[in-house]
Subunit: 427 residues, 3 copies
Amino acid sequence: MITGEKMHKWAADLFNINRSITGPGVRETLVFLSNLIKGLQIKSVASGTKVFDWTVPDEWEIREAFIEDKYGNRIVDFKNNNLHIVGYSVAVDQYMELDELQKYLHSLPEQSDAIPYVTSYYSKSWGFCLTHNQRESLESGKYRVYIDSTISPGVLNYGELIIPGDSKEEVLLSTYICHPSMANNELSGPVVTAALSQWLLSLKKRRYTYRIIFIPETIGSITYLSKNLDYMKENVIAGFVITCIGDNRTYSFLPSRKGGTLADRAALHCLKNSVKKFNEYSYLDRGSDERQYCSPGVDLPVCSIMRSKYDTYPEYHTSLDNLSFISPEGLKGGYDILKKTIRIIEVNDYYKNIFYCEPQLGKRGLYPNLSIKGGSADDLKNLMNLLAYADGEIDLIDLANIINVDIIDLHPIVEKLIDSELIEKVC
Amino acid sequence: MITGEKMHKWAADLFNINRSITGPGVRETLVFLSNLIKGLQIKSVASGTKVFDWTVPDEWEIREAFIEDKYGNRIVDFKNNNLHIVGYSVAVDQYMELDELQKYLHSLPEQSDAIPYVTSYYSKSWGFCLTHNQRESLESGKYRVYIDSTISPGVLNYGELIIPGDSKEEVLLSTYICHPSMANNELSGPVVTAALSQWLLSLKKRRYTYRIIFIPETIGSITYLSKNLDYMKENVIAGFVITCIGDNRTYSFLPSRKGGTLADRAALHCLKNSVKKFNEYSYLDRGSDERQYCSPGVDLPVCSIMRSKYDTYPEYHTSLDNLSFISPEGLKGGYDILKKTIRIIEVNDYYKNIFYCEPQLGKRGLYPNLSIKGGSADDLKNLMNLLAYADGEIDLIDLANIINVDIIDLHPIVEKLIDSELIEKVC
Amino acid sequence: MITGEKMHKWAADLFNINRSITGPGVRETLVFLSNLIKGLQIKSVASGTKVFDWTVPDEWEIREAFIEDKYGNRIVDFKNNNLHIVGYSVAVDQYMELDELQKYLHSLPEQSDAIPYVTSYYSKSWGFCLTHNQRESLESGKYRVYIDSTISPGVLNYGELIIPGDSKEEVLLSTYICHPSMANNELSGPVVTAALSQWLLSLKKRRYTYRIIFIPETIGSITYLSKNLDYMKENVIAGFVITCIGDNRTYSFLPSRKGGTLADRAALHCLKNSVKKFNEYSYLDRGSDERQYCSPGVDLPVCSIMRSKYDTYPEYHTSLDNLSFISPEGLKGGYDILKKTIRIIEVNDYYKNIFYCEPQLGKRGLYPNLSIKGGSADDLKNLMNLLAYADGEIDLIDLANIINVDIIDLHPIVEKLIDSELIEKVC
């Protein structure tokens, strides 16, 4: 049984691992996930591999990092919070005056108690991040900066799970595992995806094949696409980037580039019928791996359902995006919406009437014998409307949208009408 | 000359006949109509005939029906109002206590002075309908229930009139003749259709052929389609279900399933240019024979223009839908709108300019010689706009919609431009 | 350097010439323009030439025209204002009572200090125009009316300039030269078009060929089309009627008949990104030569950008539409908008990404090395959005509309991305 508490616990277990786009933190995370998800493969691609316009970078490993003041106090220490170090910082061991040190410090004046999240993946550099309050309190004098890290050839890792279905057509679930200690914009993604994987694996039967990947953002999706693009273009019928799915402030939808794909339609149908309100963003507001999946020429049908969208909530990309920003309820709500969206895709189909005109429902016990003024029951109204629109030219999502009903409520009626030999699936 | 008074008189003459989906009341009604409409054929289909998923039912004949109280008073009597009996009631002659009797009574607590209209066509049963006030006043004690009726093999009847036109393409007018004493939701339909038939028969020339049918609702249209579907699919270019067209509260429009057919466009153009406001319903609000005509696979271009739509006004399907609910003005207004809609279809065509650029209207006396500031007359503006848009790619309805003019006002201008050899019809 | 003052001066120089659809005034105007515009050809078509449904009219020449009162005062004199005479007035020399004279007078009761503009091109007639105030003050008595004019075979003149570009595809600029002393609705058109011609001639390189014509309205465009229609239909990709472009009250847009052509899209993109608000008219509000260019069968992609649109401002077609109604700022604003619209057409193209997925911008110096929370610069955002949408299927105007940026700001980014070999033009 998937619970919000279980997912929150996984997030807590993963919280302190120092993830980046490569390195031991990613591997540790993937090992943890592979213990949750039967069959998850940990794959690796060597540094230096060309992937479209990019090159897989060297691995970054960091062992220790701190700033020491003139009294020998470690005033900033990577051990306390892995956001303190700029991602991909090179090694350094130096003394410097405060003025010089300031050039290597990052803080947020307008969020003075938050440590920002900063990276410099593709340019050799180093730096420390701290709260603006602490930075303001620094006294002049000499400081020691110490970083024990290496950047050297290795691999880029990712996790991949293919769960076969009746069809080789695929639904893609993509989430990322490259951010250090942040909860909504990172861990909510992998833990909800892990939960969805467990649910999908538990099913006796799946109509579609599921391709589930845990990758570093941007370079990971680019690398993955460079290896799988042709196959995916042929087989992926819907996909979702799973991120920022753990708080309980709101729901958000970010469409694919052109919108209107099966993924978009299923997600919108789900949100409209399941939550009171949600924010509908434009592809102009994109910011995660749909940037690659929906890029011109790639054009996979990929969108996102989120709770508070990245780059819109104040805690984003700071130490305030922590385990108390997400919640068991938030994670469970996000999980439920994604699960329902997947179910919508699984049940979506084209149906058409077998008979011309309305069938005689009464003789099949589907219609009251006595006709008297007054509204029909909702189920009967939905059944009549389904028959009135089932022309084999619109799929069940569009049909449900026209007749204003949740497709998940409509599906049992579809099955009843198939059993009664009144409608049939259109191939 | 068609007048509202004449139509109201016809309705009054037909009011007390006990119509149902089969039986002598239908035949009596059709005979009355055939005296009004030269050439109306009365057709019959045998009980037991398979029509798509349905079977033509046995005929129902009822001679007498009453409830007698312990004092021998006939407190409910079919003779007084044929709504007192549930349609297709089987024969019964029994004494029963009030408690038992209640199971066979139907009334409307929220409309306590109305007798409801109830039927049980396809399941052997019986019952009485009465006002809720009367029902509340019933004293305990023994009652006698008596129904002298038979349900036995016979025929289903309908009326059919084909008025030939220059083209074998057809306009369908369909109305129903299966409700007992109710005025708007029944008799307004046949009497307005009778008046339209008289008008169409009086025309020297018709562009289209008119197929006009008087049928029992649902089983009648299904039966009719089962005999004529292929021919109608090939030839019907527009059709209208004519019902609820006799009160003077409002106008209503109910589209075909997908909308946008010639029938829909003509009806909407007519209503928008003829009445101040009207209710535009969705196909989700359907409820009459468009349910068959627009069903998947049948897909005839059929919509409805009504006054107060069935199932939206309180008097619907009760004894309050009587001759004072409809009016001569209401019937005439409905007749006029339908007649105008038919005229729109008759005059609708594709036209294109004969000359490149604007023609020189002045030399033909179509334009003032003196050019001075100030608005042109409406007719000149319409003529100029017609020439500006007549590209042979849009029909006159669309053109009139673009230039915001009633097509009936535009038509004389079309004829003037044809006479002037400035535009021509596009085949 | 084009300035508003220069254009206003040209208008002032042209103001007192008595233009009509033919005659010496048109020629004098064309000679003046040909001194401004290198290469402008003055063409002529003989009276009597058949042009589609029309015939080129005889030339009108007028030497003198006045009304004299009983005291010998010339109370209305063509010498003072050439609007005093009805265009194409025939010769007359007569004495008549005021009552009789009134039949030949035109004034505007609701604009009592304005002389109206009246013509009677195609029907032999004569008349005088005066302010309503003056007309009201006329005393009874005998008046002498004197017009010394001739209408006789001659030519219809127009100016034509073809500025070749890299492509034989053409942009059409059309303006008219047939109104006597009026400023916004006439002279703003030719002077702004003259300025645009100078600018286009000054360019080292033009992508498109420019066809620039100065014609009498209606009969001129009909005549011009009758000679050039086939070639223009094949080659004109966008065109603009240039008129009413000199006041500074507002901006206006009038679309082509069906809208959505390159000309419409460029003009709308320009206006939306350049001015705070503008009036968007319908083709139903048309009134100038688009009536011919967009007529059915001609169907050239021609629209209009104006300032106060003809027939909407009170001074229109009166002596109040004078040199103080237009202004240097008004003319310059109109010129700038048309110039920018032409530049939009010149830079518009289809582009697509060279790489799958986002390219690595950092290694090309196009992206900051350090990733930290906070908005990107607008230029970077535009660059990323351009790459995200450049799929070779939408042109730059549509792309700029989607990403909400002025195409003129986007163009340098396009060039940077071409230089960086990240996008390429689609042929």
